[in-house]
Amino acid sequence: MTAAAAMAAYALLVGAVAPYALARARWAHRAPGIAVLAWQGLSLTFVVATVLGVGHLACSGQGVHHGLLGLLGVCGPAGLAAVPFPATPAGAASLLAPATVALLPVGALVRTVRRARRERREHADLLRMIGSEAVEHGVTVVEHARAAVYCLPGRGGRIVATRGALTALTEEQFRAVLEHERAHMRGRHHLPRMAAQGFAAAFPWLPLARLAREQTALLLEMVADDRALRFHSRDALATAMCEVAAGSVPRPALGAGGPGALIRLRRILSPQGVPSRAARLGLVAASAAAPALPLLLACGSL
């Protein structure tokens, strides 16, 4: 029971307190790649803590306390051998609850990936119909007056620019945007994005899930901005952002949070140094350790 309470407290901390701190953390925008990792670490931690907490609750008093942990194998092969698989129907039922909690985000992730794949395939079909290949840039051009540049990630991925964007941008500005999109493709940014989407679909009421999705999208844009800035001027990239935004269809003002575009623009124009190597290593280690902590806690409570 104590272990279940500890897990619940940990899950609450990770799900509803830590995300607000991370969303405000100054270092996140200075090391966006690490911050993406931190959000994924928090999300995984929440799932692990919730599964273990529910498991403890379901198993307590039924004599199969060890069964769950044994099944998960968290205490190593020795632990697994020491605890027999719960053979009784009650024991099996007590594993059902944590398994359901574990399958919730997995199912949502699978649905998100399938949906994204379908949308990408449909869009690729559309591009075959209305796009044309611009050989000199290796992009697909669509004769559309509104400005837009985007990439279609994944297998057979490509970068797409509308005529409106090509008209609005100078050669140098367009090259900067292309480098930004190439960074998305090379970095396979759609994968962490889909993970965050799936997590948010599984726990729509959870502050962590909502913030992780928003922040992951914004942080990945920053990673791509940084990549473009290695080869192109700050002015070119910032001006390109203004021009493409101005040439697209304006949408009604967003509610809370405001657009990431302004945050990105300010960041491009007035850069701040990246955190020190030691600080970066520490952040990566903490992101990796957070999901392991509840496991250690669970083992210790045996």
């Binding site: 998100t112 949906r115 994204a116 949308e119 990408r120 869009h123 079909d125 559309l126 075959r128 119909m129 209305i130 669509v142 004769e143 559309h144 007056a145 509104r146 837009a148 540049v149 985007y150 990439c151 279609l152 990630p153 509308t162 945007v177 930004h180 999109e181 998305h184 940014h189 759609h190 994005r193 889909m194 989407q197 999705r213 999208a217 990945l220 002015d235 910032a238 001006t239 390109a240 952002m241 203004c242 493409v244 935004a245 101005a246 697209s248 269809v249 304006p250 949408r251 009604p252 003002a253 967003l254 405001g258 657009p259 990431g260 575009a261 302004l262 623009l265 300010r266 124009l269 007035s270």
Partner: protein, 122 residues
Amino acid sequence: MRQLGELEAEIMDRLWTWGRPATAREIRDDLNRKRPIAYSTVKTVAEILFGKGMLAREKDGRAWLYTAACTRQRYTAARMADALEGSPDPAGALLSFVEQISADEVQALRSALRAARRRSGS
């Protein structure tokens, strides 16, 4: 399946470029200049496009005459609007350079850029 999409695109491209009604045979003859393709295949795909509402057809003697249901520009505009102005965060299928923002927010971007240029210029 892949080839079907390709052939659909090629048929639409012909009809959009010609801007006049054409029979499946005419389309087949034009496609044949690039690679051999069966009349029945072209006919089937034209019927699929008719079913999708992308082609209109009318009887001309014993053959069907196909026309593009709307111009390439209008089709492009409508489909791109769907793709880019739909829900702000669909499944994350496309990664846009800049998300759509309001007119006020574009102004905010512009003034931030102007301010930065003044700073670096002075």
